[in-house]
Structures are given as C-alpha cells and as structure tokens.
C-alpha cells in the first residue's frame, strides 16, 4: 500500500472529475478528518487517516481491502471506477439520470439504459458525460456515460441507448468475488 504517484493521481482525478467535477475537492479536503487515497494491488482505496494507521498493522500480502475501493488501474495505467465508489460519487454527482422502475432491473443486470427507460435526466448533460444512475425513488443504482445529450434524448427513438452502462449495484452480487 502506497500513496498514489502524481501521474496516478492525475489519471484518477481526471476520471473522477467526469462524474463529480470539482467536487473531488470535497473528497480530498474533508472537514471531518483527513482522508487519503492509497494504492494497493493496483486498486485505489479511499480511507480515513485512522483506518490508514490501523491498516499498517497488516502485512501487504495479507491485506485484501482497506477503506473504500474506488477502482483499479489497468495495466495501461487507465483508471477504472468500481461500483464500490458509488457511495462517494452519488452525493456529489453533477449529472444524474433517473431510470424508470421497469428498466431498473435491466440496468441492474448490466444493460445500458434505453430511452424507453429514461425517466428523468439532468439538463445540459453533454454527450459522454459521466452520470450517476438513480431509480425513480432516488436510490443510486450505478453510473455510466451519457450516450446522448439531454436535447438528443428528447428526440431519439425509444430503443436507442441513452446511457452506457459502466457499473451498477448488481455487481455487488455478480462480481462479489472480485469486488474489494
């Protein structure tokens, strides 16, 4: 477990900023204590200072997970967000998409969000903007990338994809073994 290098931090922040924009600041600079990102097993964990200290008692090879896993770095040093980061993305998300109850399940099974299942969307959403997907009851279900702008979403036919699926809470079950 080690702190992120500058490059890694940059890559990760760039990715995060697609979803929560400058709200990353709130993650880094928290009033309720100091929190930090740590890299372990190619994965980025977000934890408080206290937990960080506690984690030092565990050897590196035995440590499975600390704090909250935000995602992992691919071999090509790209950052991939995991669904476990949803807890921190959802409250700070700039752009949101609400999915109708009928398509909740479809989304939770890993499918893209179609126009027919789109219940609500934040205005001025740009194409390929990272969005957090909510159910109509405002329960965060996952996140993805807007395939169409808000304006386009009004016009497109019902079966066209509006949001590309990236992660959903169904992964907690589907990928239970790999999620840490």
């Amino acid at each position: 477990m080690r702190p992120l290098t500058e490059e890694e931090t940059k890559v990760m922040f760039e990715k995060l900023s697609k979803y929560i924009g400058d709200n990353i600041k709130l993650l880094v600079d928290r009033p309720d204590g100091s929190y930090c990102f740590r890299l372990h097993n190619e994965r980025v964990y977000y934890m408080s200072e206290k937990i960080l200290k506690l984690a030092t008692n565990i050897s590196r090879d035995k440590l499975v997970s600390v704090g909250t896993c935000f995602g992992k770095f691919t071999k090509s040093i790209k950052f991939r967000l995991h669904i476990t980061a949803l807890d921190f993305l959802a409250p700070y998300a700039k752009f949101k998409v609400w999915v109708k109850p009928g398509q909740e399940q479809s989304f939770l099974y890993g499918n893209h969000v179609l126009k027919s299942g789109l219940g609500r969307i934040t205005e001025n959403t740009m194409q390929y903007q990272g969005v957090v997907v909510y159910s109509m009851t405002d329960v965060p279900l996952g996140f993805g990338v807007a395939a169409k702008t808000t304006q386009e979403c009004r016009r497109v036919d019902p079966m066209s994809i509006v949001v590309f699926h990236q992660a959903d809470v169904g992964e907690f079950i589907r990928n239970e073994d790999t999620l840490t």
Binding site: P3, L4, E6, T9, K10, F13, E14, S17, G21, D22, I24, K25, V28, D29, R30, P31, S34, C36, F37, E49, K53, A90, K94, F95, K96, W98, K100, K115, S116, L118, G119, R120, I121, T122, E123, N124, Y134, S135, M136, T137, D138, V139, P140, T150, C153, R154
Partner: protein
C-alpha cells in the same frame, strides 16, 4: 377453338403468311406474332400464337404436316399453346391471387380486384343515404389497401358534425360479466376514495358498501343502453361511462373492416383508459436542473400514496395483495382482550414464514366465506386479527398512518375491541387506521422458530400427543394460528366441526361440550405454529415476552371478568406454560412464572382466581376441582389420582387450551370417554407440567430443576395408569403435594446451605468468589434478556418472582397451593436476601481500585498479571516507569505529527494535481487542515455582534474614516496630476551649425581639467534650466507650428498640382 404455338419461324414472316398457311386446316381467328430481339435489336427468335378453329383431326393433320417442316428458312415447331401468364400463374386459388399487383382486375370476373396480399376482393357498390338523395359509392378495396381511411372523407357539403369519428374515439361494447376486469375493460372504474382517517372508519366502510350497489346499477344501465339498436355491422356502439366519447356521431361502422381492426381499436382504447396516466408519465421525459435534490424519502412517499390509491380500489380482491405488500407492524396485537393471548401465539406462528402467512390468509379468507353468517362481533374480531396478520406480513411498505407505540394499545382493551369491531369494514384504509392504535408484537423469525422448536420437542417427547399433533398437522397452520381464527373457532360451531374432522380425539369432547370443541381450534393453532416453525434457533425472549403480554392480558381480563376472557386467560397461560417448560435453559424466567402459578397464593393472583372461580361456578362447580387440577398440573405436582382432572389438564398443556375450557370439558364430560382419550395427552401434560416444582426448588441451578422435572413426570404417569377413581386420585394427589412440599423444602435447604457456603468464602476471600458471583450475574443477565421486562429487576430471581406473582393468574388453588406458596415464598425470600447481599459484595468487588485507575494503573495491572498474582512477585506502583511512558508518548506524538505532516503534504499535492486537472484555481489549498479543524458549525442567523470581542471588530463599519481618507487622497492625487507637467516625447536638440564651437568647447573642457567640474556644473544647470522652460512651452508651439506648416505646404503642393494640371490641359 385451339390456341397453337408456332415456333421456329423466320424473322421475316408476317401474320398473313401464317394465316394463309394455317388457313388450310381451319379458320384462323387471330395471329399473334412475337419476335425476340437481343440488345442490339437483332431478332434471334420469332414465334407466334394462333387462335384457330380447328377440329381434332385437322389439328392432328396439321401437326403432322407442318411440324418440323422447313418454311422460309426456319423449322416449324407447333405445339398446343400453354396458358397465358395471367391464366397459368396468376390464377385465382381460394380467393387469393399470388404474384399479382394490387389493383389488377381478376380476369373473367367483373368487379373483382386483387387487393392487398393478393387477396381477391369484390368492388363494393355502396348505397349512401344522405338526406333526401341517395347515391352509390364505389369502393375499390385495392385502392384502399394501404390506408385505413377510405370512406366518408369529409366533403365540402358535410357539416362538422358529420365528420367521422377518429379511430381513437371509436366506441365499442365489450360483453362480459360484472366482474372487475370486464368492468374495467368497459372503462368503468371504481370511484377513487381517498384514504380515510381512522375515526371515520365505519363511515368509510358504509360508504364503500353503499357505492358498491350503484356501480353495479351503472353497469346494468349501460348494458340496457347498448341494447338500443344502432347501425353497425354486428357491433353495438358501447354505452361508455364517459359521455365525452359518445359525442361523436354513431358510426356507420362499415369502415371497420375486419375483426382485427376492431380488436386493435379496442385494445388501444382500453389501454388508453387503463394506463392513461401511465402513458402520460412514460411519454414525458423529465429534465431536471443541476440543483435537483435527490431525496429518497420523497419518492417513497409518493409510492406509498400510489399504493394507497390502488388499495382503495376494489377492497375485496386487493386484501390479499395488500397483505403481501404491506409491512408487518412492529407490534401487532390489538384484538380484544380475550384474543390477545391467542393473538400472540398467532402472531408468532404468522411470522414464521411468508408462505405460511399466505396460506393463512387464504385460509382466513375461506373461513370468512364460510362463516359469513355468523355473529358480527366474531367477524369483526376476525377481521381485526386478519388485519394485524396482514400488517405483519407487509414489511415492505410503510403504513401511512402513524402507528402509536405498542404500550398504548395494551393499556385499554375495551377501546381496542370497539375499534376492532368498527374496523370490520374490509377496506384497507381502515385497516391502517385500526392498526395505528394496535400494539404490535415484535417477534423475529428466529424467536418464532425457537418457540416452535421447543413446542415440537415437548410434543415429540410425549408420544401420544405427537400422534395427535401429526394428525392435526395436515391443516394446521391455517386454523387457529391467528387470534381471529381462534375466536372464530370459539364462536362458531361450524368451524369447530372442521377442526373436529382433523382431530378425531377432540371430536368426542366437542360433542360433549361446545366449549371443548371451541378450545380445540385454538390448540390447533398453537400446534400448527409450533410445527410450522421447525428451525431450532429459538429465542427465549419472545416466549417470555409473550408470557408477559399474556399476564398483562390477564390483568385486563380481570377487569372484564367475562367468562370468555377467563377461559382465554387460562388457555393462554397453559400455552405459555407449555412453551416455557420445554425450555429448560431459559428456565429462570419461566421458572419464575411457573413458581408464581404454583405459589398462586400471592395477593396479585387473587383477582384472577376470583375470575376463575366465577367461571367455575358457571361450569357447575366442577371448576374448583378443575382449578386444583390445573394448579397441580402447572406446578408439576403430577397428581395422577384424578383421571378427569388429569385428562383436562393434559389437553390444556398440550393444546394450550384454556384451563377453564378444560374444566368445562371435564364438567360436561365427566365420563369415561374423555378419560380414555385424554390419558395419552395427560402424560404429555404431566411431562410438560413438572417443571414448576423444580423451579421453585432450585431457582438458581438449572440442572436440579431438570432432574426434578423428570422425576415428577414418571410418578404421575404411573399413577394415571393405575388409578381410575377421583377419590384415590385426590388422596394421592394430596400425598404427592405434600411430598412435593417436603422435597421442595429439602431442596430449599440444600440450596440455602450451598448458597451460604458460597457466600461465606466469597465474602471472606474476596476475588476467588468472583467467579461464583459471575455465574449469578450471568444468570441474571440471561434472565433479564429473556424476560425483556426491563427495569424492575434488582436481583434477577426476585424480579422474576415478582413478575410472575403479579402477572400470573396462577390457578388459585386454595387448599394445597397456599402451603406451597408459603414455602415457595419463604424459600425465595431467603434466597433473595442472601443473593442480594452477595450481589452487593460482588458489585463492590468490581469497583476499580484506586491504584489501578488510569493508564498507569492499567500498566500496573498488566505488570502484576504477568506474574499470575503471585504474592512473591508483587508489583506495586513503584515498578512503574513513569519516564518510559512519557517518552513513548512523546515518540508517538512525534510519529503522529510526522504522519500528519506527510498526509498534509500528500493532500496538498493531490489538491494541486486536482487543480491542474480541473484547470480551476483552488484557493483553499494550504490552509485546509487548519481551517478544516477550525471549521465548526456556525449559525449565521444566531450571530451577534459583541463589541467587547476583538474578532468582531471586523463587523464594525468604518465607512466615514475611509471616506475622508479617500477624499483627501483623491484631492491630493488630482493636485498631483494637475501639477505634473506635460512632457513631450520629442527631444530638443539644439544643434549649432558651427561644429568648431562644439569641438572647441570639448577641447576647452579637456584642456581645463581643473575647472571642469565647476564649468560642467554651471553649464549643466544652465542647460537644465533652459530646457525646463522650453520643455514646458516650446514643444507645444513647435508642434502647433509644425502642423500649420505641414498644412500650408500641403495646400501649396495641391495648388501647384492643380495649376500644373490646368496648364497641361490648356497646352
């Protein structure tokens, strides 16, 4: 006439040639000559069709002569012509003509055209009666094969009212029954009813009922209306509820072509009706601003509202749905006081599994149907029970109505009863309202399971009873599981009959006395419950909780003092006892309860006893015997002498039937039949019963209790078998009771002695005894947990005892029980006192000694513990190294600060990276940690200016001073600005034409070194002075002069140029 094909003709042949040639054989009517040409127009094939009137003989002759004959350079080939393309390949088969373009006329048939999909359809001549004149309208299906609108295109002369109704507004009639679905298909929806407040429950119900009839009427009326003849091709225009749709003129439905279309239209309309709102919602794509707040709670509320609405629709059908949806209230048990005890049992069973709930519900529904004719009150109660059960099952939804705490509902039974009755309205909204007042049982599945387990165990141990149980299992869970059902069973003979079928043994009893029959269902319920919950992870707490509730119920019942109540109380008690007995480890609490029952002489029990007495009186004075029996059974006295009594007791214990009921049964029966049947259960009962005595004896030690229990069980069994007469039984019983008392006394003494021994060393040695005291504490804790009674407990046993005394009816046995009570009380009292003392000492023991307090103390303790408290190596505070601690602490602090610094740096770094990523300046960066720590919540509105605080100086406004200063500054600035001379950017060069002078000066300067400084200074000052003067004024003049000069020069040049031009032109 034959049609011949002639091939192999030369390209130059003509029709006349052919005619002449074939004219020999017959009359040629028509010659059709065809030539095939390639791309370049060169003919390569010529053939012809010839229609010729020819006889077969001539045809043969012709073929033989001309076929394969050479003619004009070609070899003739004559064949019978095949049918033409149209005839051969586009023939009409089964009213379809394939490979034909829509619109082609079918050859040979007038007014038949090929339409869509090759269908051959007739061209219709429609007569249209418009006002006075009639006209025919030709309808060619092929021309309308691709669009729907074909008729009645609005012409100029048609008025607006004549315009055809659009397809979406077409009306129709659906024939169907009066059921809900068909009604909804017709567009008739039950009127929406907003959820009513609970106080208006009855009103709501009435209104619902009242509305039900009109609705039916409506539908009937509509049917009648539809019967009124209208045009149409077989379809009657519907009488829809909504008049708006009717406005359109009745259609000549000729434009509805096929059933398919009609179906489609119907579907569209129905969907539009049903999902009108839905569609709207779906079609709308909501776009939300960036500041949209996500509030999960709100959405849920909305959903809730929706559900309510749904619920309000047809109440009867949705009841079950609701049940499945709605979350069970944390505590449910509002039913009338009588039912409570049973209800608790029912609730427990109900919670076992969702499946069970469903089945129960179904069974309930069935019961309702069957027992509709029964007493209203019973129904009401049942409904209430259902409601409660439903609510339990519905965990998912939050009930809109605020549910008061359970304590409220428990307090007043009468009110609850009334509410329940009023609530018999089956509307769901009423349910909710009802339940708001109702207390809810909070029992986890695990608890239920454990209960069931225990019960099962007991039942299994008793072989005979288990058999009966198994028989009953077939239907079990449904009946009697819920309090309402039990009530129903009690109230209704019909239901009892069913139960009788299930339980053959019980039938006999039922025949003898209705009361007994009524009791049976309840028993079933409990059994079913137990059976249903097979998992063994029971929780004692629940049982205890039930017990307490039951006790409370009993108290309530005292007030009512009705027969039924009394019976139920006894039932509940017995059931509790049964449940409690199996659990030996829970024992403490249960034992207490049992003790209370056995001791029954306690003052609190007197009232209950009185009730029982009343009941007994009513029951032909046999109740007394019964009471004694019950007491004995509960006490575990195992008085096997009285068969009747034993029999009665047994059913009680096994079935959790009311003791009073048992008494009634015994009174009514008092016959040998019962004895036979009941002997088996009696054994069970005896087994179950024994615990109380042991409890009283060994409140502290569980093992002893168990042993004792086993012992009494054996004795009663033998007695039962041997003795048949009551007298003997009584005698034996008395003897047994006395023996019991003796045993208990002995045990007590033993225990006391043991306790005393325990106490003595404990007090003296101090810490060694802690373990013993710990055990006690553990027991206490356990008992506390089990009881859930909370606060009352000082010493666990004592509290238990008190609770049991106060709450338990404990069959008030007058004769034997009193003695036992005395002994029991004495026993307990003594033990309690001792224990109290022990506890106090123990408590003092646990106080932390002053030398072990604090961090240093902790370290000292560790040091001491290192040597196992060996006296030789006693460590005291001198061994503590103060410095080490401080150093360690300081080191820790240092490391901590270092870490913090590192973290801080990292954070700064990441912030800077973030800044670079976002391209936004983050001004917070450096101060972050300090500020973050300093950040505390400030209520701006509560901020007050305090002049005494320096910090608040920032809030003071110093406008005047600043203004003055600023004014002064401005003036100064202005003055300065005005004073500043305007300096021209041009440099003044005074060039003298005489270079000699310049060089001469230089030479002079170089020559006169001495005076150089002086001269230089003088000259410099003079120059600067000159320069200053000139620089202020001269440059402006110069500029002005220059501008004027330039202009003049320009004009001159211009004039010159003109002159030159003029002159040149002239020349």
């Amino acid at each position: 006439m034959q049609r011949l094909y002639v091939g192999g003709l030369s390209h130059t042949i003509t029709q006349k040639d052919l005619k002449d040639r074939f004219g020999k054989f017959g009359q040629v009517e028509d010659v059709e000559l065809r030539t095939r040409k390639d791309d370049e127009g060169v003919p390569y094939k010529t053939f012809s069709y010839i229609n010729i009137n020819i006889t077969d003989a001539d045809l043969k002759k012709c073929m033989t002569v001309l076929n394969k004959s050479k003619w004009k350079g070609g070899t003739l080939q004559i064949e019978m012509a095949k049918e033409s393309f149209l005839h051969s390949k586009a023939g009409v088969e089964n009213f379809t003509m394939k490979a034909a373009v829509p619109g082609t006329e079918v050859p040979g048939h007038e007014d038949w055209v090929v339409s869509k999909f090759g269908r051959v359809l007739p061209v219709l001549q429609l007569k249209c009666q418009k006002g006075s004149r009639a006209r025919t309208l030709k309808y060619d299906p092929s021309k309308y094969s691709h669009n729907i609108r074909k008729l009645d295109r609005p012409s100029a002369d048609q008025s607006a009212s004549d315009l055809p109704t659009p397809v979406s507004q077409l009306t129709w009639e659906l024939q169907g029954g009066d059921d809900d679905i068909s009604k909804k298909r017709r567009g008739e929806f039950p009127a929406y009813e907003p959820p009513k407040r609970k106080k208006s429950q009855t009103d709501a119900v009435n209104s619902l009922k009242a509305e039900g009839k009109p609705r039916l009427k409506q539908s009937v009326d509509s049917v009648a209306l539809t019967e009124a003849p209208q045009v149409t091709n077989g379809h009657k225009p519907p009488s829809t509820v909504r008049p708006a749709q009717m406005k359109g003129p009745p259609l000549t439905l000729s434009d509805i072509d096929s059933d398919d279309e009609i179906h489609r239209i119907v579907a569209v309309q129905s969907s539009s009706h049903n999902a009108l709102q839905q569609e709207e919602d779906e079609d709308k794509l909501e776009v939300v601003g960036l500041d949209y707040l996500v509030t999960p709670g709100r959405a849920r509320q909305q959903q809730k509202g929706g559900d309510e609405e749904e619920n309000d629709y047809d109440s009867a059908d949705t009841d079950e749905l609701l049940a499945s949806r709605k979350p069970p209230p944390p505590r449910s048990s509002s039913p009338p006081p009588q039912e409570r005890a049973t209800l608790t049992a029912g609730n427990i069973s109900g919670n076992n599994t969702d499946r069970k709930r469903k089945t129960k519900k179904k069974s309930k529904a069935g019961e309702e149907d069957s027992t509709d004719a029964e007493e209203p009150s019973a129904q009401k109660r049942r409904d209430a029970g259902k409601l409660s059960s439903r609510k339990q099952s519905k965990k998912m939804k939050v009930l809109p109505v605020v549910k008061p705490s359970s304590s409220e509902s428990e307090s007043d039974d009468e009110e609850e009863e009334e509410e329940c009755e009023s609530a018999d309205s089956s509307s769901d909204s009423d349910y909710e309202a009802m339940f708001s007042n109702v207390t809810r049982l909070e029992i986890s599945l695990a608890d239920l399971q454990k209960l069931a387990e225990e019960f099962q165990d007991t039942s299994e141990t008793t072989a005979p009873s288990s058999l009966s149980v198994s028989e009953q299992k077939t239907k079990p869970p449904k009946k009697g599981t819920t309090p309402e059902e039990i009530l129903a069973a009690l109230m209704e003979d019909d239901s009892s009959e069913e139960k009788e079928e299930q339980q053959p043994k019980k039938k006999k009893k039922k025949r003898k006395a209705d009361a007994t029959t009524q009791l049976l269902p309840a028993f079933k319920g409990t059994k079913a419950l137990n059976e249903g919950s097979e998992t063994e992870e029971g929780q004692k707490e629940e049982e205890e909780g039930e017990g307490t509730e039951v006790k409370k119920l009993k108290v309530d019942h005292k007030a009512t003092s009705s027969k039924m109540n009394g019976q139920k109380h006894t039932e509940t008690e017995s059931s509790e006892d049964e449940e409690e007995e199996p659990k030996k480890k829970e024992a403490v609490v249960k034992n207490m309860a049992e003790k209370a029952e056995s001791v029954s002489s306690s003052s609190s029990d007197e009232e209950e006893e009185e009730e029982e007495e009343d009941e007994e009186d009513e029951e032909d004075n046999k109740g007394k015997v019964f009471k004694t029996m019950a007491k004995k059974a509960q006490k575990g006295s195992s008085s096997s002498s009285d068969e009747d009594e034993e029999e009665e007791e047994v059913p009680k214990a096994n079935q959790t039937v009311l003791t009073s009921k048992a008494a009634a049964a015994s009174s009514s029966s008092s016959s040998s039949e019962e004895d036979k049947d009941e002997i088996l259960p009696a054994k069970d009962a005896v087994k179950a019963a024994p615990p109380p005595a042991p409890h009283s004896e060994s409140s502290s030690s569980e093992e002893e209790e168990e042993e004792e229990k086993q012992a009494p069980l054996r004795v009663p069994l033998g007695a039962k078998e041997e003795e048949e007469r009551q007298r003997k039984a009584n005698i034996r019983r008395l003897a047994a009771v006395q023996q019991r008392q003796k045993e208990t006394e002995e045990n007590k003494k033993l225990i006391q002695g043991a306790l005393a021994n325990l106490d003595a060393p404990a007090a003296g040695a101090g810490k060694h005894i802690v373990f013993g005291s710990d055990d006690d504490d553990d027991e206490e804790a356990d008992s506390d947990d089990e009881q859930q009674t909370t606060s009352e407990i000082k010493t666990p046993k004592k509290t238990l005892f008190q609770d049991s005394q106060s709450e338990n009816e404990a069959p008030g046995h007058k004769n034997t029980s009193t003695k036992e009570k005395l002994s029991g009380t004495h026993l307990f009292g003594s033990s309690e006192e001792e224990e109290d003392a022990d506890e106090e000492e123990d408590g003092s023991r646990f106080d932390i000694r002053p030398e072990f307090e604090g961090r240093a103390g902790h370290k000292l303790m560790e040091l001491q513990s290192r040597f196992g408290k060996d006296e030789r190596f006693k460590m005291d505070s001198r061994f503590l190294e103060q410095n080490e601690d401080k150093e360690a602490e300081s080191e820790k602090k240092k490391s901590g600060t270092e870490e913090e610094e590192a973290l801080e740096e990292e954070r700064k770094k990441s912030l800077s990276i973030l800044q670079s990523v976002l391209g936004i300046s983050q001004h917070t960066s450096s101060s972050s940690k300090a500020t973050s720590k300093a950040k505390t919540f400030r209520d701006v509105s509560a901020l007050h200016y305090d002049p005494s605080r320096e910090e608040h100086a920032a809030f003071e406004t110093k406008t005047e001073e600043t203004k003055k200063e600023s004014k002064a500054a401005r003036r100064k600035k202005r003055e300065e600005a005005q004073k500043l001379p305007e300096v021209s950017t041009e440099i003044y060069y005074d060039v003298s034409g005489d270079m000699k002078a310049v060089f001469a000066e230089k030479e002079e300067a170089s020559g006169f070194k001495f005076s150089f400084f002086g001269d230089d200074a003088e000259t410099g000052s003079g120059e600067t002075a000159e320069y200053k003067i000139e620089s202020i004024q001269a440059p402006k003049l110069q500029q002005a002069d220059r501008g004027s000069q330039l202009r003049q020069e320009y004009r001159k040049k211009h004039k010159d140029a003109r002159r030159k031009l003029k002159t040149s032109v002239k020349s």
